[in-house]
Amino acid sequence: MSRRTLVVVGHGMVGHRVVEVAVARGLTAEWDVVVHAEEGVHAYDRVALSSWFAGTALGLPAVNDPAVDLRLGDPVVSVDTEVRTVTSASGLVTPYDALVLATGSTPFVPPIPGSTGPGRFVYRTVEDLEAIKAFSVGKTTGAVVGGGLLGLEAAQALQTLGLATTVVEFAPRLMPVQVDPGGGEALRRLVEALGVEVRLGASTQEIVDGPGGLRMSFADGADLDVDLVVFSAGIRPADALARAAGLEVHERGGVTVDPGCRTSAPDVYAVGECASALGRCWGLVAPGYAMAEVVVDRLLGGAGTFEGADLSTKLKCLGIDVASFGDAFATEPGALELVWADPVAGVYKKLVVSDDAQRLLGGILVGDASAYASLRPLVGSGLGVNPAELIAPSSSGVQLELPDDAQVCSCHAVTKADLCAAARATPDVSAVKECTKAGTGCGSCLNLVKALVGKEMAAQGLTLSKALCEHFTYSRSELFEVVRVRGIRSWSQLLAEHGTGKGCDTCKPTAASILASLGGGYVLDGEQGTLQDTNDHMLANLQKDGSYSVVPRLPGGEVTPDQLLVIAQVAKDFDLYTKITGGQRIDLFGARVEQLPLIWQRLVDAGLESGHAYGKSLRTVKSCVGQTWCRYGVQDSTSLAVLLELRYRGLRAPHKLKLAVSGCARECAEARSKDVGVIATENGWNLYVGGNGGFTPRHADLFLTDVDTETLVRTIDRFLMFYVFTAERLQRTAPWVEATGLEHIRDVVIADSLGLCGDLDAAMERHVETYSDEWADTLADPERLARFVHFVNAPEIPDPSIRRVPERGQSRPLLPLRVVR
């Protein structure tokens, strides 16, 4: 049998997919494939168009098959379905045995006066983008007509070009196809926070050329002067070729096809955005790809059909998460909508459930679409939990079941299945750790390991011991209560009355922290000094070669030029590797023990103090510059950060504490990833608690809205003290909030449901009153200073094992160290 010819008209994403599938499924063994492309470039990822401005290469992988003849820049201009040929713009006439129309769509430009001409663009092809880029040189403003998905992408592109951008949308909300009014409102706030101006319900009437550019006038009489306008107000199927060839076309446009993607003419198919399948056009790439599969299957003699497609979408537009899935607009009779919204943080979540709240039907997520992956597969199936708990800030700690192949320990690649199998064999946390190595690397998965082992043990009727270690049967929170209520002031008393043995590296630092939280004074005197980890013991952070790092406190991240000079000189004089930390501090690495007091002295003389980078205590209060300098700030975030840092500095807690204050909803201080985050509002402050970065990132939960500084500080006082009182050892606030329950914490610290607020306030007051800089306290006392030598019998000799080599203009440890294991 002689070879047959498939002609593909169009070389967009879907047209290219037809060719890819044809090659992959062996169609080219018997068929030659001729592709006519309108654009002069190889097929590219149109979905990612806006990243072209950022320099991203968009090209899709080329198909390498001699049977494929790609004719770029030579569009088909006519089709003759009688003689079965296509004619291209260059005059080539190609006979076909089968024809696939993949002409895609064209941008819709509203038929208004002045919609074409210099400075007016559409946003569809790389060529369009090149034209916009060339025109934008030296320009300052731009407008996008259309606030849908493509419009917001175009707005992102204009912003990338440095234009002050306005989005003009005819509908009363952004992305009207994907989100409901609530979601649209959240989206608007987020988009505006990025500096894009939004005009909703705006009908553009006319665009005229003026002396300074273009003037757009709107139906309500307003107008807007800009340098350029981009139309991105939707797409229309590119069906002109099919119409001219006499093919049947749907009344709303698009080449009519049956479920086999066949048009009204024999052996002529249509796929993607130019086709009208099941009575509608499918403006997403995934249904187009499905159609490409169907066509190739048909050409191979199969009976594939296009059954419609899930139009669920999750995308990032201007960096904002938007997801819409299932019956997002609650069209099913009796459907119920559950909405959770945090307008300040710009989060909107809606779930649509069946009238008995048993089945998930769909939903909309704006601002935080992290739940999309777990929610979408649940559409149509039973929920098993109260649906509100799936979108509300996790007050009750409800979690969807972790799949068996989920990696629990990434250091040692241990999956949940491995871990649970080990736990069934030996139901004991340390045995499971030893057998699987889970939790023995960085240790950050330890809480998860304990929880999973505990679950397996519970299934076997065993309970996980909450004993701190072999020396105490109490958990950390119980021990805290014992120390607090009984007024225990020393380790010996605690061990004698409530423990056994001589203590260990678990209970000793825990006891030290508890005694310090309850006002134990200088942490290194006498017996208390024997309890401390080396970091607390040296008031510095141990590094891998036995040297230490030094971090002076810079409250709120503020530092004077004079202090910077001192820090720089100290770093030079002691050859300290210097690095800026994530919490807006300066870390000086590589100090030997005998150098520490000399370094501190110079820092203390410059008005600096210990930054407690070594302690399970307040680390930093990060902040933006706030309204003092920032054009967008609405409160003085830096002053508040300084106030909070000076208030809570030195507070010993079950784990480290990181705070942040942002001066507006743009959240430059990343407060929602902190244990305590404060975000300024027009009317005061919003308080967020329980956020975390690190191993298990968690957005902080909104705790208070629009409060004054006094209320804010009192609430943070109580929140932190309640955490200090009741959290377990090395439990950050994020898991503590989940375990304790946000509502319960609110009850305790705001409504005083336990009658504990007096104690919490008194404990914080005592902390604030008794705070004293540990570096200065050490320097002031020769006895305390005596410890800072390496050899107690040869104090003049520094540790000879610490050696340095240069790297990028600084020093780093000479590695590897001698390991004799």
Binding site: T530, D533, T534, D545, H790, S801, R821
Partner: protein, 112 residues
């Protein structure tokens, strides 16, 4: 055997580092006044830090815990209780006339 430091200068329940014939030794005085001398070299990390570890007990054994990654070592035998086949050298230690005296061991006391 070299005199190193006065016993009275050693804190309880903490270790210090001393230089003995060019070697770094961690001297430990437990809370019930037992003396031990082991290598200051942490065999796992290779850093000279054992003397900065926490002193405690595991069962009835006195232990010193590496400050680097928290492995515990039996102060009597030098055996690491958390990792197989890792040992600290255990040196002889005595008190003579109020001075702590240390005799360096040649090797670890790995059982035969």
């Amino acid at each position: 055997m070299s005199p190193v430091v006065p016993l009275a200068s050693l804190p309880f329940a903490r270790a210090v580092c001393v230089l003995v014939d060019g070697e770094q030794v961690a001297l430990v005085r437990t809370s019930d006044d037992t003396l031990y001398a082991v290598d200051n070299l942490d065999p796992v990390s290779g850093a000279m830090v054992m003397s900065r570890g926490i002193v405690g007990s595991r069962g009835d054994r006195d232990v010193l815990v590496s400050p680097m990654h928290k492995e515990a070592y039996d102060l009597g035998t030098g055996e690491c209780l958390d990792l197989p086949d890792v040992w600290l050298r255990v040196h002889q230690v005595q008190v003579r006339d109020g001075q702590v005296v240390v005799g360096l061991a040649q090797d670890v006391r790995r059982p035969a």
